[in-house]
Symmetry: C2
Subunit: 232 residues, 2 copies
Amino acid sequence: MTSETEFKQTTLNQVRRVAKRGHYDRETVFKILDQNLVGQVGFCSDDGPIIIPMLFARRDDELLFHGSSKSRLMNMLCSGSKICVSATILDGLVLAKSLFHHSMNYRSVTVFGSGYEITSDQQRIEALRIISDKTMPGRWDDARGPNVQEMKATCVAAVKIESASAKIRTGEPADDPDDLTLPVWSGVVPFVQHAGQPLAAADNTPGLEVPEYLNRWRADHNSQFAAAKDVS
Amino acid sequence: MTSETEFKQTTLNQVRRVAKRGHYDRETVFKILDQNLVGQVGFCSDDGPIIIPMLFARRDDELLFHGSSKSRLMNMLCSGSKICVSATILDGLVLAKSLFHHSMNYRSVTVFGSGYEITSDQQRIEALRIISDKTMPGRWDDARGPNVQEMKATCVAAVKIESASAKIRTGEPADDPDDLTLPVWSGVVPFVQHAGQPLAAADNTPGLEVPEYLNRWRADHNSQFAAAKDVS
Protein backbone atom coordinates (compact mmCIF):
# COMPACT_ATOMS: atom_id res chain seq x y z
CA MET A 1 0.00 0.00 0.00
CA THR A 2 2.81 2.38 0.93
CA SER A 3 4.27 2.84 -2.50
CA GLU A 4 6.52 5.82 -1.84
CA THR A 5 8.40 7.08 1.17
CA GLU A 6 7.38 10.70 0.71
CA PHE A 7 4.17 12.49 -0.19
CA LYS A 8 4.71 14.66 -3.25
CA GLN A 9 4.80 18.38 -2.45
CA THR A 10 1.94 20.23 -4.11
CA THR A 11 0.23 23.61 -3.60
CA LEU A 12 -2.17 21.77 -1.29
CA ASN A 13 0.15 20.12 1.23
CA GLN A 14 3.25 22.30 1.06
CA VAL A 15 4.25 23.95 4.34
CA ARG A 16 5.07 27.49 3.29
CA ARG A 17 5.41 29.37 6.59
CA VAL A 18 8.70 28.28 8.22
CA ALA A 19 9.26 25.64 5.53
CA LYS A 20 11.93 23.82 7.55
CA ARG A 21 9.18 22.66 9.94
CA GLY A 22 7.46 20.77 7.11
CA HIS A 23 7.73 16.98 6.79
CA TYR A 24 6.44 14.90 3.91
CA ASP A 25 7.68 11.42 4.72
CA ARG A 26 5.01 8.84 5.42
CA GLU A 27 6.71 7.69 8.61
CA THR A 28 6.46 11.13 10.28
CA VAL A 29 2.96 11.85 8.96
CA PHE A 30 1.65 8.43 10.00
CA LYS A 31 3.22 8.60 13.46
CA ILE A 32 1.45 11.87 14.28
CA LEU A 33 -1.83 10.55 12.87
CA ASP A 34 -1.50 7.48 15.10
CA GLN A 35 -0.84 9.66 18.17
CA ASN A 36 -4.13 11.54 17.72
CA LEU A 37 -7.44 9.94 18.67
CA VAL A 38 -9.51 12.69 17.09
CA GLY A 39 -9.10 14.51 13.80
CA GLN A 40 -10.85 17.66 12.60
CA VAL A 41 -12.63 16.66 9.39
CA GLY A 42 -13.40 19.47 6.95
CA PHE A 43 -15.42 19.58 3.76
CA CYS A 44 -16.88 22.28 1.54
CA SER A 45 -20.65 22.57 1.73
CA ASP A 46 -22.86 24.85 -0.36
CA ASP A 47 -22.76 27.22 2.61
CA GLY A 48 -18.97 27.16 2.95
CA PRO A 49 -16.45 25.12 4.95
CA ILE A 50 -17.65 22.83 7.76
CA ILE A 51 -15.33 21.14 10.27
CA ILE A 52 -16.43 18.33 12.59
CA PRO A 53 -14.18 16.51 15.10
CA MET A 54 -14.15 12.73 14.62
CA LEU A 55 -12.49 9.70 16.14
CA PHE A 56 -10.38 8.02 13.49
CA ALA A 57 -7.79 5.32 12.90
CA ARG A 58 -5.26 4.76 10.14
CA ARG A 59 -4.84 1.61 8.06
CA ASP A 60 -1.92 1.95 5.68
CA ASP A 61 -2.71 4.91 3.41
CA GLU A 62 -6.29 5.27 4.59
CA LEU A 63 -8.10 6.89 7.48
CA LEU A 64 -11.09 4.99 8.89
CA PHE A 65 -14.17 6.65 10.39
CA HIS A 66 -17.45 5.44 11.79
CA GLY A 67 -20.64 7.18 12.79
CA SER A 68 -24.38 7.13 12.56
CA SER A 69 -25.79 6.06 9.18
CA LYS A 70 -27.88 9.23 9.32
CA SER A 71 -25.00 11.64 9.93
CA ARG A 72 -24.32 14.44 7.47
CA LEU A 73 -20.59 14.00 7.88
CA MET A 74 -20.69 10.25 7.25
CA ASN A 75 -22.70 10.90 4.09
CA MET A 76 -20.05 13.41 3.03
CA LEU A 77 -17.27 10.90 3.79
CA CYS A 78 -19.07 8.28 1.68
CA SER A 79 -19.74 10.63 -1.23
CA GLY A 80 -16.24 10.92 -2.68
CA SER A 81 -16.13 14.67 -2.01
CA LYS A 82 -12.81 16.25 -1.17
CA ILE A 83 -11.95 16.04 2.51
CA CYS A 84 -9.27 17.59 4.69
CA VAL A 85 -8.34 16.10 8.06
CA SER A 86 -6.22 18.02 10.54
CA ALA A 87 -4.87 16.77 13.86
CA THR A 88 -2.65 18.71 16.25
CA ILE A 89 -0.90 17.90 19.51
CA LEU A 90 0.24 20.92 21.53
CA ASP A 91 3.54 20.19 23.24
CA GLY A 92 4.21 23.52 24.88
CA LEU A 93 4.23 27.28 25.05
CA VAL A 94 7.48 28.82 23.82
CA LEU A 95 8.21 32.04 25.72
CA ALA A 96 10.84 34.18 24.03
CA LYS A 97 12.34 37.42 25.27
CA SER A 98 10.47 39.34 22.56
CA LEU A 99 6.73 38.93 21.96
CA PHE A 100 7.48 38.51 18.25
CA HIS A 101 9.41 35.27 18.81
CA HIS A 102 6.81 33.66 21.06
CA SER A 103 5.66 30.38 19.61
CA MET A 104 4.25 26.96 20.40
CA ASN A 105 5.76 23.51 20.24
CA TYR A 106 3.45 21.16 18.40
CA ARG A 107 3.10 18.14 16.17
CA SER A 108 0.51 18.73 13.49
CA VAL A 109 -0.61 16.83 10.44
CA THR A 110 -2.92 17.67 7.55
CA VAL A 111 -4.34 15.07 5.19
CA PHE A 112 -6.10 15.58 1.88
CA GLY A 113 -8.19 12.94 0.17
CA SER A 114 -11.66 11.73 -0.56
CA GLY A 115 -13.77 9.08 1.09
CA TYR A 116 -15.84 6.05 0.21
CA GLU A 117 -18.23 3.86 2.11
CA ILE A 118 -17.09 0.46 3.31
CA THR A 119 -20.05 -1.76 2.62
CA SER A 120 -19.25 -5.44 3.17
CA ASP A 121 -20.04 -6.58 6.70
CA GLN A 122 -16.69 -8.31 7.07
CA GLN A 123 -14.76 -5.20 6.06
CA ARG A 124 -16.98 -3.02 8.26
CA ILE A 125 -16.20 -5.19 11.29
CA GLU A 126 -12.49 -5.17 10.40
CA ALA A 127 -12.49 -1.36 10.21
CA LEU A 128 -14.41 -1.00 13.49
CA ARG A 129 -11.92 -3.30 15.16
CA ILE A 130 -8.98 -1.22 13.90
CA ILE A 131 -10.64 1.93 15.30
CA SER A 132 -11.26 0.17 18.63
CA ASP A 133 -7.75 -1.29 18.80
CA LYS A 134 -6.19 2.12 18.14
CA THR A 135 -8.29 3.71 20.87
CA MET A 136 -7.62 1.00 23.43
CA PRO A 137 -6.01 -2.35 22.61
CA GLY A 138 -7.84 -5.19 24.36
CA ARG A 139 -11.20 -3.50 24.60
CA TRP A 140 -12.64 -5.17 21.47
CA ASP A 141 -12.28 -8.66 22.93
CA ASP A 142 -13.67 -7.61 26.30
CA ALA A 143 -16.78 -5.50 25.57
CA ARG A 144 -19.94 -6.88 23.95
CA GLY A 145 -19.61 -6.84 20.16
CA PRO A 146 -22.05 -5.10 17.82
CA ASN A 147 -25.34 -6.86 17.06
CA VAL A 148 -27.26 -6.76 13.77
CA GLN A 149 -29.30 -3.71 14.74
CA GLU A 150 -26.23 -1.78 15.89
CA MET A 151 -24.36 -2.62 12.68
CA LYS A 152 -27.35 -1.36 10.70
CA ALA A 153 -27.21 1.97 12.55
CA THR A 154 -23.47 2.31 11.89
CA CYS A 155 -21.82 3.71 8.80
CA VAL A 156 -18.14 3.01 8.15
CA ALA A 157 -16.06 5.05 5.72
CA ALA A 158 -12.45 5.29 4.59
CA VAL A 159 -10.55 8.29 3.28
CA LYS A 160 -7.67 7.50 0.97
CA ILE A 161 -4.73 9.77 1.86
CA GLU A 162 -3.89 11.38 -1.47
CA SER A 163 -1.64 14.07 -0.05
CA ALA A 164 -0.41 14.97 3.41
CA SER A 165 2.19 16.87 5.37
CA ALA A 166 3.30 17.28 8.93
CA LYS A 167 4.46 20.45 10.64
CA ILE A 168 6.51 20.16 13.81
CA ARG A 169 8.12 22.65 16.14
CA THR A 170 10.30 21.48 19.01
CA GLY A 171 12.87 23.02 21.27
CA GLU A 172 13.70 26.37 22.72
CA PRO A 173 12.79 29.94 21.81
CA ALA A 174 14.81 31.46 18.96
CA ASP A 175 15.57 34.91 20.28
CA ASP A 176 17.29 37.76 18.46
CA PRO A 177 20.89 38.01 19.69
CA ASP A 178 20.28 41.63 20.72
CA ASP A 179 17.50 40.55 23.09
CA LEU A 180 19.47 37.94 25.02
CA THR A 181 20.58 40.34 27.73
CA LEU A 182 17.03 41.51 28.49
CA PRO A 183 15.84 40.61 32.01
CA VAL A 184 12.92 38.54 30.64
CA TRP A 185 12.58 34.85 31.55
CA SER A 186 12.68 32.69 28.42
CA GLY A 187 11.96 29.02 28.03
CA VAL A 188 9.23 26.46 27.41
CA VAL A 189 6.17 25.43 29.39
CA PRO A 190 5.51 21.82 28.33
CA PHE A 191 1.98 20.47 27.84
CA VAL A 192 1.20 16.86 28.61
CA GLN A 193 -2.09 15.08 27.90
CA HIS A 194 -2.45 12.91 30.98
CA ALA A 195 -4.92 10.00 31.25
CA GLY A 196 -6.15 10.02 34.84
CA GLN A 197 -7.33 7.31 37.21
CA PRO A 198 -10.22 5.34 35.63
CA LEU A 199 -13.57 6.12 37.29
CA ALA A 200 -16.02 3.19 37.41
CA ALA A 201 -19.58 3.91 36.28
CA ALA A 202 -22.25 4.00 39.01
CA ASP A 203 -23.95 1.04 37.31
CA ASN A 204 -20.74 -0.90 36.73
CA THR A 205 -20.92 -4.52 37.92
CA PRO A 206 -19.82 -4.48 41.58
CA GLY A 207 -16.45 -6.06 42.30
CA LEU A 208 -15.07 -5.73 38.76
CA GLU A 209 -11.45 -4.59 38.75
CA VAL A 210 -10.08 -2.11 36.21
CA PRO A 211 -8.87 -4.43 33.43
CA GLU A 212 -5.17 -5.00 32.94
CA TYR A 213 -5.22 -3.79 29.30
CA LEU A 214 -6.67 -0.47 30.49
CA ASN A 215 -3.88 0.04 33.03
CA ARG A 216 -1.34 -0.87 30.35
CA TRP A 217 -2.93 1.56 27.88
CA ARG A 218 -2.83 4.34 30.49
CA ALA A 219 0.84 3.72 31.27
CA ASP A 220 1.70 3.71 27.54
CA HIS A 221 -0.35 6.82 26.87
CA ASN A 222 1.14 8.76 29.76
CA SER A 223 4.74 7.74 29.05
CA GLN A 224 4.36 8.69 25.37
CA PHE A 225 3.20 12.17 26.31
CA ALA A 226 5.78 12.51 29.06
CA ALA A 227 8.49 11.67 26.52
CA ALA A 228 7.12 14.21 24.05
CA LYS A 229 7.48 17.09 26.48
CA ASP A 230 11.26 16.84 26.23
CA VAL A 231 12.41 20.10 24.72
CA SER A 232 15.94 19.04 23.86
CA MET B 1 -21.73 43.63 20.79
CA THR B 2 -23.54 40.59 22.13
CA SER B 3 -26.99 41.40 20.86
CA GLU B 4 -28.68 38.07 21.49
CA THR B 5 -28.19 35.35 24.05
CA GLU B 6 -28.39 32.48 21.54
CA PHE B 7 -27.02 31.86 18.07
CA LYS B 8 -29.87 31.15 15.66
CA GLN B 9 -30.04 27.50 14.63
CA THR B 10 -29.46 27.06 10.91
CA THR B 11 -28.49 24.18 8.63
CA LEU B 12 -24.89 25.24 9.20
CA ASN B 13 -24.56 25.22 12.98
CA GLN B 14 -27.30 22.80 14.04
CA VAL B 15 -26.08 19.77 16.00
CA ARG B 16 -28.00 16.93 14.44
CA ARG B 17 -26.38 13.79 15.84
CA VAL B 18 -27.45 13.50 19.51
CA ALA B 19 -29.17 16.89 19.38
CA LYS B 20 -29.38 17.16 23.18
CA ARG B 21 -25.60 17.66 23.24
CA GLY B 22 -25.93 20.84 21.18
CA HIS B 23 -25.69 24.28 22.77
CA TYR B 24 -26.33 27.59 21.05
CA ASP B 25 -26.05 30.11 23.86
CA ARG B 26 -23.20 32.57 23.58
CA GLU B 27 -22.07 31.93 27.15
CA THR B 28 -21.38 28.23 26.51
CA VAL B 29 -19.87 28.77 23.05
CA PHE B 30 -17.63 31.60 24.25
CA LYS B 31 -16.46 29.70 27.33
CA ILE B 32 -15.21 26.77 25.24
CA LEU B 33 -13.57 29.13 22.74
CA ASP B 34 -11.78 30.85 25.62
CA GLN B 35 -10.57 27.48 26.97
CA ASN B 36 -8.84 26.60 23.70
CA LEU B 37 -5.53 28.19 22.71
CA VAL B 38 -5.61 26.79 19.20
CA GLY B 39 -8.45 26.50 16.71
CA GLN B 40 -8.57 24.55 13.46
CA VAL B 41 -9.27 27.11 10.75
CA GLY B 42 -10.89 25.80 7.58
CA PHE B 43 -11.59 27.41 4.24
CA CYS B 44 -12.53 26.23 0.77
CA SER B 45 -9.76 26.57 -1.80
CA ASP B 46 -9.99 25.84 -5.50
CA ASP B 47 -8.48 22.45 -4.66
CA GLY B 48 -10.96 21.67 -1.87
CA PRO B 49 -11.04 22.18 1.89
CA ILE B 50 -7.89 23.23 3.76
CA ILE B 51 -7.54 23.25 7.55
CA ILE B 52 -4.70 24.97 9.41
CA PRO B 53 -4.28 25.10 13.21
CA MET B 54 -3.97 28.65 14.56
CA LEU B 55 -3.59 30.39 17.90
CA PHE B 56 -6.59 32.65 18.43
CA ALA B 57 -8.35 34.81 20.98
CA ARG B 58 -11.91 36.03 21.25
CA ARG B 59 -13.07 39.64 21.63
CA ASP B 60 -16.84 39.83 22.02
CA ASP B 61 -18.32 38.30 18.84
CA GLU B 62 -15.03 38.13 16.99
CA LEU B 63 -12.06 35.79 16.82
CA LEU B 64 -8.64 37.40 16.46
CA PHE B 65 -5.72 35.86 14.58
CA HIS B 66 -2.21 36.91 13.73
CA GLY B 67 0.44 35.51 11.44
CA SER B 68 2.97 36.33 8.80
CA SER B 69 1.91 38.95 6.27
CA LYS B 70 2.92 36.46 3.60
CA SER B 71 0.84 33.56 4.88
CA ARG B 72 -1.81 32.00 2.66
CA LEU B 73 -4.14 31.56 5.62
CA MET B 74 -3.81 35.16 6.75
CA ASN B 75 -4.61 36.29 3.22
CA MET B 76 -7.68 34.05 3.29
CA LEU B 77 -8.70 35.44 6.70
CA CYS B 78 -8.38 39.00 5.33
CA SER B 79 -10.28 38.29 2.12
CA GLY B 80 -13.81 37.98 3.48
CA SER B 81 -14.10 34.36 2.36
CA LYS B 82 -16.19 32.00 4.43
CA ILE B 83 -14.29 30.48 7.32
CA CYS B 84 -15.02 27.69 9.79
CA VAL B 85 -13.14 27.42 13.08
CA SER B 86 -13.34 24.28 15.19
CA ALA B 87 -11.85 23.71 18.64
CA THR B 88 -12.16 20.59 20.75
CA ILE B 89 -11.07 19.61 24.24
CA LEU B 90 -11.09 15.87 24.95
CA ASP B 91 -12.17 15.21 28.52
CA GLY B 92 -12.16 11.43 28.55
CA LEU B 93 -12.72 8.01 27.05
CA VAL B 94 -16.15 6.58 27.85
CA LEU B 95 -15.97 2.80 28.12
CA ALA B 96 -19.39 1.14 27.97
CA LYS B 97 -20.18 -2.53 28.35
CA SER B 98 -21.03 -2.74 24.63
CA LEU B 99 -18.68 -1.46 21.93
CA PHE B 100 -21.64 0.37 20.39
CA HIS B 101 -22.08 2.66 23.39
CA HIS B 102 -18.42 3.59 23.68
CA SER B 103 -17.97 7.33 23.42
CA MET B 104 -15.81 10.27 24.41
CA ASN B 105 -16.38 13.13 26.79
CA TYR B 106 -15.53 16.42 25.11
CA ARG B 107 -16.23 20.11 24.81
CA SER B 108 -16.29 21.18 21.20
CA VAL B 109 -17.21 24.36 19.42
CA THR B 110 -17.65 25.27 15.76
CA VAL B 111 -17.76 28.84 14.50
CA PHE B 112 -18.82 30.12 11.08
CA GLY B 113 -18.02 33.55 9.77
CA SER B 114 -15.79 35.57 7.52
CA GLY B 115 -12.72 37.60 8.21
CA TYR B 116 -11.28 41.00 7.58
CA GLU B 117 -7.89 42.58 8.05
CA ILE B 118 -7.29 44.87 10.98
CA THR B 119 -5.24 47.68 9.50
CA SER B 120 -4.80 50.56 11.93
CA ASP B 121 -1.66 50.22 14.02
CA GLN B 122 -3.47 51.00 17.25
CA GLN B 123 -6.08 48.30 16.60
CA ARG B 124 -3.40 45.84 15.53
CA ILE B 125 -1.55 46.34 18.80
CA GLU B 126 -4.81 46.01 20.74
CA ALA B 127 -5.61 42.72 19.01
CA LEU B 128 -2.10 41.35 19.56
CA ARG B 129 -2.34 42.25 23.22
CA ILE B 130 -5.67 40.40 23.54
CA ILE B 131 -4.11 37.29 21.93
CA SER B 132 -1.09 37.56 24.27
CA ASP B 133 -3.24 38.15 27.37
CA LYS B 134 -5.40 35.14 26.58
CA THR B 135 -2.36 32.93 26.13
CA MET B 136 -0.61 34.14 29.28
CA PRO B 137 -1.73 37.17 31.29
CA GLY B 138 1.27 39.26 32.34
CA ARG B 139 3.53 38.28 29.48
CA TRP B 140 2.76 41.34 27.34
CA ASP B 141 4.10 43.75 29.96
CA ASP B 142 7.21 41.62 30.61
CA ALA B 143 8.56 40.64 27.17
CA ARG B 144 9.96 43.10 24.65
CA GLY B 145 7.18 44.60 22.56
CA PRO B 146 7.03 44.50 18.75
CA ASN B 147 9.21 46.99 16.83
CA VAL B 148 8.34 48.62 13.51
CA GLN B 149 9.92 45.88 11.43
CA GLU B 150 8.13 43.12 13.36
CA MET B 151 4.79 44.91 13.04
CA LYS B 152 5.35 45.16 9.30
CA ALA B 153 5.93 41.41 9.10
CA THR B 154 2.74 40.71 11.08
CA CYS B 155 -0.79 40.48 9.72
CA VAL B 156 -3.73 40.73 12.11
CA ALA B 157 -7.23 39.58 11.18
CA ALA B 158 -10.61 39.21 12.83
CA VAL B 159 -13.41 36.77 12.04
CA LYS B 160 -16.89 37.94 12.92
CA ILE B 161 -18.79 35.01 14.47
CA GLU B 162 -21.91 34.86 12.33
CA SER B 163 -23.06 31.47 13.56
CA ALA B 164 -21.77 28.97 16.10
CA SER B 165 -22.65 26.00 18.22
CA ALA B 166 -21.10 23.90 20.95
CA LYS B 167 -21.36 20.16 21.43
CA ILE B 168 -20.63 18.72 24.83
CA ARG B 169 -20.68 15.21 26.27
CA THR B 170 -20.11 14.66 29.97
CA GLY B 171 -20.71 11.87 32.41
CA GLU B 172 -20.91 8.13 32.43
CA PRO B 173 -21.51 5.52 29.73
CA ALA B 174 -25.16 5.02 28.73
CA ASP B 175 -25.43 1.25 28.56
CA ASP B 176 -28.40 -0.80 27.42
CA PRO B 177 -30.20 -2.20 30.49
CA ASP B 178 -29.72 -5.75 29.17
CA ASP B 179 -25.93 -5.29 29.18
CA LEU B 180 -25.58 -4.15 32.78
CA THR B 181 -24.98 -7.62 34.17
CA LEU B 182 -22.11 -8.35 31.72
CA PRO B 183 -18.72 -8.84 33.43
CA VAL B 184 -17.19 -5.90 31.51
CA TRP B 185 -15.66 -2.95 33.39
CA SER B 186 -17.45 0.28 32.49
CA GLY B 187 -16.56 3.84 33.33
CA VAL B 188 -14.57 6.84 32.22
CA VAL B 189 -10.84 7.47 31.78
CA PRO B 190 -10.44 11.24 32.25
CA PHE B 191 -8.00 13.26 30.12
CA VAL B 192 -6.27 16.28 31.59
CA GLN B 193 -4.08 18.74 29.72
CA HIS B 194 -1.34 19.44 32.24
CA ALA B 195 1.12 22.34 31.99
CA GLY B 196 4.41 21.00 33.32
CA GLN B 197 7.33 22.63 35.09
CA PRO B 198 8.71 25.57 33.04
CA LEU B 199 12.08 24.79 31.46
CA ALA B 200 14.43 27.75 31.12
CA ALA B 201 16.10 28.24 27.74
CA ALA B 202 19.84 27.49 27.55
CA ASP B 203 20.45 31.13 26.63
CA ASN B 204 18.10 32.52 29.28
CA THR B 205 19.66 35.25 31.42
CA PRO B 206 21.35 33.46 34.35
CA GLY B 207 19.69 33.93 37.72
CA LEU B 208 16.26 34.93 36.37
CA GLU B 209 13.44 33.28 38.32
CA VAL B 210 10.32 31.89 36.66
CA PRO B 211 8.00 34.93 36.78
CA GLU B 212 5.11 34.96 39.23
CA TYR B 213 2.49 35.48 36.47
CA LEU B 214 3.74 32.28 34.81
CA ASN B 215 3.36 30.24 37.99
CA ARG B 216 -0.11 31.73 38.48
CA TRP B 217 -1.06 30.92 34.88
CA ARG B 218 0.13 27.32 35.34
CA ALA B 219 -1.85 26.89 38.54
CA ASP B 220 -4.99 28.32 36.89
CA HIS B 221 -4.55 26.21 33.77
CA ASN B 222 -4.01 23.00 35.70
CA SER B 223 -6.87 23.56 38.14
CA GLN B 224 -9.24 24.33 35.26
CA PHE B 225 -8.41 21.06 33.57
CA ALA B 226 -8.47 19.11 36.84
CA ALA B 227 -11.99 20.45 37.48
CA ALA B 228 -13.11 19.50 33.98
CA LYS B 229 -12.25 15.83 34.47
CA ASP B 230 -15.06 15.50 36.98
CA VAL B 231 -17.51 13.03 35.42
CA SER B 232 -20.45 13.68 37.73
